[in-house]
Structures are given as C-alpha cells and as structure tokens.
Point group: C2
C-alpha cells in the first residue's frame, strides 16, 4: 500500500509553501551551516533580548499549568488595556482585549470570522494574502508608490470605496505603521484624514501597531485616537519586547465591535484554546511596564535610529531609491535606478534580485513580491538587524540617555550590518 498516491488536499492549500519570512531564515541557517558568510537581512525578528524583568517574571510563573480563559488572563488584559491608554492615549477596556498566540494567528481568525471585504495597501506584511488563500478568500490590494512613501492617502481610499458601487459593504482596512516592510509611519494629520473617510463609509480599521513602541523617536500615534469606535489595535510582545518566539499577540477592540471579538474567541476555543499560561503571566510584567523597560526601549530605539539612518544614507548615496526609516528595523529600497544594469545581469524581477544577491554576495533579503508588489518591480525588504542585540544594548546602556551615540558606535557594534549594505552597493556597481 502506498498512501502517498492518495494525496488529498484542500485545493486552497495545495502548493502553499512556508511563509517567506520563516523560510528565508531556515535557508540562511542552512547556508551558514555550510560555512558560507551570510548577511541575514531576511528575518523580521528583534535583535534585542527580552527585557530582564520580563524573563524573570516567566521564571517566577514557570509552574503555572492551568488552562487560562480563552480571551486571556484577566491581569494581562488589564495590563494591555492600560498600556494602550497610557502609550496611545486611547480609551481601552480590558473586557475588549483578546490575547492570542501571536497577532498573526489573531489576524487569521479575523479573516476567518469576518464576512466582508478586506483591504490592504501594498507593500504589506507577507501573511495577509496567504491567509486569505487558505480560507478561500480574496483580499483587495491597493498598490501605493515610492513617491507616496508607500502610504495610502485618504483620497485614494475614498476613490476605492466609491469605485465598488456598494458604498456600505462590510469592510476592514488594514493599516500597519511603523510599517513592515518599509519602516515608515503616518503623520497624525494623515491618520486623521483616513479616520474621517473610514467613519464616513463605516469601515472597520485594523491598525497593526506592533512596531509602535519602536518608532525611532518614541513618537508613535495611533489612528484609534481619531476613530476610536471603529479601530482594532493589534499589538504584542514580538517586536518591542524582543519576544517573537514567545508567541503572544493582542487585539484591542472598541465596544461596538464586540461581536467580532466574541466570534474570534469562539473559534479560538476550538483551536488554540488559550495562550501558554506562563507566557501570559510574564506578559503582564511586559505590558505593565517599568523604568527598566522604558530604559530598554530608549536604548533599542536609539540604536535602531542611528543604524537605520546610516544604512539609508549608504544606500541613497549609491543611488538606490529609499526613504529614511522612521520606525521598526526595515527599509524597502527600490533598485529601479539600476534596472538597465541589472537587466544586463539578467535580473528582471525582485525574486531574481534577491536570489542573485544571496548567491553572489551572501546578502539575504526578501523580494518585493513577497509583500504583494508587482513582480517586475525591483524592490526588496532589508531588516537591518544582523547584529548582536544584547551586546549592543549593553554598550548603549553605558552612554547617558541624553547623549548621542558616539560616531564609532555603529562601526563597533553593528559592523556586519554595514558590511552587508556595502556588499549590496558593491554588487550594484559591479
């Protein structure tokens, strides 16, 4: 008997590969295992350790073994609501917090339970479209441009909404800022405008603010301030708290969307059940915050900001089209000024671009295509975080907060990142 001949898979998942961000990491590890020097700009994982008080909280609660409530531990929901009230100056009620094993899983549940159109501006996070595919759904992609700083404007949004001949169809617009893959964010004025259109057309906003605390100047503003009744805020421990591998994400709903939250919780109760108990107890410490955590954030931002500006400058000076990063740890350069030269090398799309840079220079990036950009567009995401996070953080802590990082800090602590950028520039000029 040969059960392999019986391959019988849901047509929506046939051919579905591993998520590109995870796949690139596994590929990098393989190449490194073969002794190759790799500049890993592929994975979107914070380089910094989990703050010490949060790790200590996990140790303290290691014995917690009970199944926790589906929506989350009460104290954690309180802490998350408090976090958004304090950091984002929005009303947030602990009864309207849903805790999940990563905001990716929560986004999947949202797509599963919501019956309506989901609108995502591109470049966008890699998982929205595959999640829709798994569920047999379709996402409305709105392409933005380099000139618009990869932002969707209120006008563009209105134009899309009116184009459908169905003004009040159920809709969710996904915003992500500071953004993956672009590292850029919206101004308060831009958000106000978008909020106005969203309110007018009664669209739900899913505001993915998982990089909010990694705004390089600490100046994150949530769209929920301008559209509280229609905005779901997505957050979690993965980015600002360095705990991607812990798997804890949160959605904070307005009261008026409790029907969405309850439905997601019902599906959660039949799937992942609840988030790992010891992790939730530790999460309380993280979301409650402390001076130690603020200090950690201050240092993390300072390093990312200086490094981001340096990488940006080096690319821009070489003629690459790229915006100076404002948050998170990404840039989304456009290599089209080199398109003729690249065409001669037979590099005709973003996949080829990344593949050749990996093979010829050991630079791992993700192609623009993974972020739903047209394939022939020569864009890619650079995660400028291939440095030893705990070492650079420790070094940063020795420098008084009000002082700028010394000129040689980046060279000393993030040398490999600069070397990777240089390798890209070299390759472009070859």
């Amino acid at each position: 008997m040969n059960l392999q001949k019986h391959v019988s898979l849901n047509i929506n998942v046939r051919g579905l590969g591993e998520s590109p961000t995870l796949a690139i990491n596994e590929r990098v590890k393989l190449l490194q295992g073969q002794g190759k020097k790799i500049y890993n700009f592929g994975l979107g994982q914070s380089p910094f350790p989990v703050p010490a008080p949060v790790v200590e909280a996990l140790r303290l609660h290691a014995h917690e073994k009970d199944y926790l409530p589906v929506k989350g531990l009460s104290a954690l929901k309180e802490a998350v609501a408090g976090f958004h009230r304090q950091k984002d100056l929005v009303e947030a009620n602990s009864d309207c917090v849903l805790v999940g094993p990563g905001s990716k899983e929560l986004m999947f549940l949202l797509q599963l339970v919501f019956y309506g159109e989901i609108i995502v501006p591109t470049p966008c996070w890699v998982s929205y479209v595959p999640q829709a595919q798994i569920l047999g759904k379709k996402i409305s992609l709105l392409h933005t441009s380099f000139e618009d700083k990869w932002h969707i404007s209120a006008d563009r949004l209105r134009q899309h909404l009116e184009g459908e001949q169905d003004l009040y169809r159920p809709r969710i617009l996904v915003l992500n800022y500071p953004g993956n893959p672009d590292g850029l964010t919206y101004t308060a004025d831009e958000l106000k405008e978008i909020a106005r259109v969203a309110r007018e057309y009664e669209i739900i906003l899913l505001s993915d603010e998982i990089y909010g605390q990694l705004h390089h100047k600490g100046g994150h503003v949530s769209v929920a301030r301008y559209y509280p009744e229609g905005t779901i805020i997505s957050s979690g421990l993965s980015k600002w708290c360095g705990a991607g591998g812990w798997r804890l994400g949160t959605f904070t709903f307005p009261q008026s969307l409790d029907w969405l939250m309850e439905s997601m919780a019902a599906v959660a109760s039949e799937t992942y059940t609840s988030v790992s108990a010891p992790i939730q107890y530790a999460g309380v410490q993280a979301f409650r915050g402390s001076m130690a955590i603020e200090r950690y954030l201050w240092n993390a931002r300072r390093i990312l900001s200086v490094l981001g500006q340096r990488c940006y400058r080096n690319l821009a000076d070489a003629g690459v089209r790229v915006h100076a990063p404002e948050g998170a740890f990404y840039m989304f350069p456009d290599f089209s000024p080199f398109s003729r030269r690249l065409a001669k090398k037979n590099v005709l799309n973003s996949t080829m671009l990344c593949e050749r840079l990996l093979q010829e220079k050991g630079v791992a990036m993700l192609p623009g295509r993974a972020f739903e950009r047209p394939h022939e567009e020569l864009t890619a995401r650079i995660s400028y975080i291939n440095f030893v996070g705990n070492r650079s953080l420790a070094a940063g802590e020795t420098i008084p907060p009000h002082q700028e990082l010394p000129a040689d800090f980046i060279q000393a602590h993030c040398e490999d990142t600069l070397a990777g950028i240089e390798a890209i520039v070299d390759w472009l000029e070859e």
Copy 2:
C-alpha cells in the same frame, strides 16, 4: 455611527459558542465566586502539577526568544520520536514530528488541509464537530453503544466503509484511547482488527493517544504498532504531564503521510508560526523522560486508578450503567435506568440532566450531547479530578511503589470527589 448594526460574520461561525469544556469551567468559577459549593466534574484538566524537572527546564530556558522552526525545535522533535519509540514500540522519525500549540490546534489544521471524509466514533471529544462546522465541513459520526464499551468494532467500521459505494474515497478515522469522555481503551486484539480494515481500505488513522501514559496500569498499546504506514499519533504535554495550560501538542506521522504534515506546517507558518520557544525547550525534558517523571507517572496512575474504581463502584452500586475506568480521568455513565424517575422531574435529555444536577446539587458535568450523543440519551461525562493534585501526589510518594494505597487514602485526599459522586447518587434517589 453604530458599527454593531453591521454585524457581518461568516455563516459557519454565527452562533458558535465557546467550547463546552472551557465554558463549564468559566461557569463553575462564576458559581464558586458567588460562594456556592461546586463539585467540578466538568473540566478535563489533569489535577497534578507539572513534574518538577520540567518546570525547572522552563525556568532555565526562560530567556529563549527566537522564533523556532515551524515544525518544532529539533531537539524536541527528537525527544518526541524517541518517546514514541520507547513507550509505544513504534518506528518514529523526528523528521515526521509536528509540534503545535495543543493537539486541538493540530486537529483543526488536519481538518483544514485534508480533503476527504473524517470519521469519528461517538461519544467523542467535544471539538471535532465544531471544528468541522467552522470550516464548513461535515464529519461522519458513527454512534457506538454502552454495550460495546463505547468502542467501534472492525466489523462496524467495514460496514460503514462499504455503505458509501465509494470504497477508496480519502478518509481519516479518528480513534481516541484511553478515551475522552469514557476513560476506556481498546485491547491489542481490537486494535489489530481495526488496523486490518484500515489497511484494506487505505484509510488514514488519527490515533489520539494523549491519555496513553495515563492508562491506569501503564499498559497503553498504540494502533501504530499494527498499522505503522497509515497512523498518525497525537500526543502532547496536556494530560500525562499536567501542563494543559502550557499548550504543546504533537502529531507524529508515518513517512508516507509527509504530504499531510507539510501542508499542515505551511498553514501553521501563516497562523501560529511556531510553539512558544521556552515551552518547547521545557518539552524536551518532558519527552526525554527521567526516573523522576516515571515516578510521577506511577503515582498519578495509582491515584487515578484507585479513585476511578471507587467512583465507578459507588455509581454502579446505585444502579447507574457505567464501565470501570481503564485510563485517563473520565467516566461516561448512562443514567437511563433512572429515566422514568428523571422524567417525573422533567429531566428529558442530557442537557437537562446536567443543568439540574448543577443547580440542585452543585455537581458540574458535561452532557452526553456535547460528545455528539443523541440528546435524549441520559449520559454525561464525569471528570473525577476535583481534588488537590499536588497534595495527593506528595502523599502518594510517601507510599512505596510496590505497595497498594491504604484504604483511607482516597477518603483523606480525594474527599470532595467522593462527595460529588454521593451527591449524584442522592439526587437520583430523591
């Protein structure tokens, strides 16, 4: 604006409530909060603590923050494969292990990716049917009977398979033993017969053995021994390791079903991503095992066995139809001998039975209906675990392993469980 008027939900999830096992627990906590005395036979959570070396391993690895590979940490997959080789005497390859945040989530992914019929004998675990409903699918339920010890026989299975006029349709048969909700298990001979039919019709078996190590005599046998090429073994930390709230489940596949595993992993990479890293590191310790863990299991089994027999005896003596438990911590009594008396109390189905027992005697059980039994059948699941697990385990450890637990052990350490059973008997006789 009122977004509530826009409720727009996937029709498959409308009206979906919280999973009954979780809902009963939250209800019990509410009643207890009101000062009511409750005998909680509702939740299926091990009463015992996580073994000390496993908790210690979590403390040691609390700082682990990386996203782990989607299928699981290499060392954990090795440990899980080794566990099944050693405990179940089956071939198991670490490349064919998939780690997820609970076996419930893995079952959901299996239902999502597999295109074919899923056959589940009843009474069955509460989540199979709601999961299918969420996905817009249908499960083929095969009702068994008290007389058959709630088992599906090979003959009955063959009869079902031949009834479809489509002999080789893609199919998965789910077996769960020791079983939830019945606490009963299959003999090796029964499993051999089922394996023979499964091989003949090329059916995949999903063998849910999460209670395997809680076979009261330590005599668990896996059907994978008789049908290795077509059996997926489901296991995890939730039951034998007392770590339900940690959320770690495993599926172990035969090589021939790698297409199913790969597809599930692809969906995992777009949903939960990977299981919490510190939890996976701790899981290595659990699955590798040790003398301390064996001692823990020995004691847990001894307590559950003696207590289960005592509860069984007390119910059976009162005239309830129930089988002596063989594993796990459940019984699935049939109260039909009291049907006339119950009808006079206006108790006409399993929901009413449980509701009235909760209201009148404070006994929380789950109705047979939650396990897909006909509603008018007067069955219910009793989880006989409302006792203080760490206290009874510590007391058990003072009694040499070869010695029987003293006659008063259960009275001293599981008094509330006996009192709950007595409350049921009293109510029946009222």
